[in-house]
């Protein structure tokens, strides 16, 4: 889960990572005090807000409110701005980059630091990005700060500041179950290193132990949210074939196969590893809300039994009065019973994926 910049900075302050002075405003009237020049920044979970006009400067309460009003009315890359962050404008001498994330390949946290911050880090050449693979059993001791300081060109007091920021950021990373913590830019301003922006991604599976973090809804569509709350892994796509499958890998392979056959999926829906009539039945509820032109069910029954799935499909067809074409592939435990039940209810059912998709293809071609 992505945190907003201001949420990330709250965590930074909690862990002793310096941030600019500032406050959040949800409406222009929340701005009641402005000292010197300030920056008003859109709070959205997407990059590139600067180029989109989501960052403006002001020198008085009135001006800041005006800028906030403009920004709060914006939509940036499809994201509505729901708040602004009003912060002191820093005197920037130099911009650096610092992040910590989980490297799947080494199965260890990776620190990346660069003296070329303030730009998209992908545009920085590899030799200017200093990487340090953290041994999780050793953690980030001060020597890691010294190694990276040397490469970053920090010495004396700046090396000490950088080391402290790094150690604190790593504590935050571990204690808040982060997938990523990123400071870009880390700004040198009047002799101090300050986190001028924040990007923090928290592992959703660990949210139960961070009650202070509320789940941000912004990253999902309303239908995705609804289906997720009902327990389905569900993602909207832009095609017209509703898909219900079991297992993330098989569901992905189903979408891949549809595309290779020239068919476009409307959604990704993974039933999971359960064996319940109702779970199968209710999956149709969300797929139908996405208004597909046909539905493909692809089940390989292991834990899930094919007769249970068949019952669920039949119940859905009745309850939701589905008159779209439904093509079903049922294989695995109790497959024959399942296919027979479906045939009796007038639903095409195949034993293998290939024939099911070929049938769907011919239906869709017929319907065009």
């Amino acid at each position: 889960m992505n945190l907003y910049e201001y949420q990330g900075k709250e965590l930074f302050r909690k862990y002793g990572v310096p941030t600019p002075q500032g406050f959040v405003a949800y409406k222009p009237e929340d701005i009641v005090n402005v000292e010197g020049e300030v920056v008003v920044k859109a709070q959205v979970l997407t990059g590139g807000r600067g180029k989109s006009g989501g960052v403006k400067f002001a020198s008085s309460v009135e001006e800041a409110r005006q800028k906030a009003r403009e920004i709060l009315a914006m939509e940036i890359k499809g994201h509505k701005v729901h708040a602004v962050l009003v912060e002191e404008k820093l005197k920037i001498e130099k911009e650096y980059y610092l992040s910590i994330l989980i490297d799947r390949s080494t199965r260890a946290p990776l620190i990346m630091a660069s003296p070329e911050g303030g730009v998209e880090i992908e545009s920085v050449p590899d030799e200017k990005i200093y990487k340090y693979s953290v041994n999780p059993e050793i953690g980030v001791q001060p020597f890691v700060g010294r190694i990276l300081s040397k490469k970053m060109g920090f010495s004396g007091d700046l090396a000490k500041q950088f080391t402290k920021i790094l150690i604190n950021l790593y504590r935050l990373f571990r204690e808040y179950d982060a997938e990523l913590v990123e400071i870009n830019p880390l700004v040198l301003s009047e002799g101090k290193l300050i986190a001028a922006d924040s990007k923090v991604v928290i592992d959703t599976d660990s949210l139960y132990r961070h009650p202070d973090l509320e789940e941000n809804a912004e990253e999902k569509t309303p239908l995705e949210l609804e289906a997720n709350k009902a327990g389905y892994a569900f993602v909207e796509l832009d095609g017209n074939i509703g898909v219900i499958a079991n297992g993330a890998g098989l569901t992905m392979a189903t979408l891949d196969t549809l595309l290779l056959y020239g068919l476009k999926p409307r959604n990704f829906l993974d039933l999971g590893g359960t064996d319940s009539v109702d779970i199968t039945k209710n999956a149709f509820r969300y797929v139908l809300k996405a208004n597909p032109q046909a539905i493909l069910v692809n089940i390989f029954g292991g834990v899930t039994k094919c007769d249970t799935v068949a019952q669920g499909i039949i119940a859905a067809k009745d309850e939701f009065k589905i008159d779209l074409p439904i093509v079903v592939r049922l294989s695995g435990v109790h497959e024959e019973e399942g296919r027979k039940m479906l045939a009796d209810a007038g639903i095409h059912a195949f034993a293998d994926m290939r024939h099911a998709i070929e049938k769907l293809k011919s239906i869709m071609e017929g319907s065009q």
């Binding site: 992505n2 799947r104 999780p136 592992d203 992905m252």
Partner: protein, 288 residues
């Protein structure tokens, strides 16, 4: 010889009295696995499928287990895994999904630096047809043979194993590595085992988009694997993940996509099937 576990492996099930633990213990026993004990705190003294249940792993150690299946809720997985490793249980299979990332990191770090094997989290386990099974793969799809399968998926594994069996290719071992970002075993780890395993003559890898495990596998195969390997990659159609943003992209630098993985495999001489059901035909070309 077999990979990681065999017919003598003595298995306990942590969380045996739960819905999943109980059902799959039964299936494992039917498959021929030696399930010697179960552990559920507070349920000591019960029996599940005639298997004695204990409150703690310490008590279950009288049965001299060398493997465990962990089927407890996600927030208790770390505790259960360390309980098993503290008592020296060598193979730790974690069924559970949604295990916090940093918990998985701690478990896998400790395991790897102390010689424990972790399978999962969030995978279907390991099956050695004719010998044993730890996990949740459906019993009926297997046939004893010479093809080793390693997969990051669950159901898609069954799909492919089933296709292999129907086409006459039995399996020496099938390992589900787990779908999470941090898993105990990667492709490279199991390729090393498959290459050494006398019972294995050919290898099937079932990959997914995300991470660079397939690209690393391709590199490893080029240098170290003499046995024929074929692959399938799921997720060609998926839009690139945005969550890790630019920093995530730096680690992978263009890797991680289906195209990158397919290209890497092809360069390593590993044919990649376009459809899951094509695996047996693709295999036939390199393994006769």
């Amino acid at each position: 010889m077999s990979v990681i576990v065999d017919e003598n492996t003595r298995i306990i099930v942590q969380g045996i009295t739960g819905h999943q633990g109980s059902f799959h213990s039964g299936e494992m026993i039917k498959f021929g696995a030696k399930v010697v004990a179960g552990v559920t705190p507070g349920k000591g003294g019960m029996k599940v499928h005639d298997v004695p249940v204990y409150d703690t792993v310490e008590e279950a150690m009288v049965h001299e287990p060398d493997a465990t299946m962990i089927a407890v809720p996600a927030r208790f997985v770390k505790d259960a895994a360390f309980e098993a490793m503290y008592h020296g249980i060598r193979v730790v299979y974690i069924l559970t999904e949604k295990v916090p990332l940093h918990d998985a990191l701690e478990i896998v770090t400790y395991a790897r630096s102390h010689g424990y094997v972790v399978i999962g989290p969030n995978g279907p386990g390991i099956t050695v047809p004719g010998k044993t099974k730890i996990g949740i793969m459906p019993n009926h799809i297997f046939r004893k043979g010479t093809v080793a399968v390693a997969s990051r998926s669950g159901t898609l594994t069954y799909e492919i194993v089933n296709a292999l069996t129907l086409n006459g290719y039995g399996q020496s071992v099938v390992i589900g590595l787990g779908g999470d970002r941090i898993t105990g075993l990667n492709f490279v780890d199991v390729l090393e085992l498959f290459e050494k395993d006398d019972d294995t003559e050919a290898i099937v890898l079932v990959g997914e988009i995300g991470g660079t495990a397939e690209e690393e596998a391709a590199e490893y195969i080029k240098k170290n694997v003499s046995k024929p390997v074929v692959a399938y990659i799921a997720g060609r159609s998926a839009p690139p993940g945005k969550r890790m943003g630019h920093a995530g992209a730096i680690i992978t630098r263009g890797k991680g996509t289906a195209e990158s993985k397919i290209k890497a495999f092809n360069e390593a001489g590993v044919p990649v099937a376009e459809f899951p059901w094509e695996i047996p035909q693709v295999l036939e070309k390199v393994y006769k």
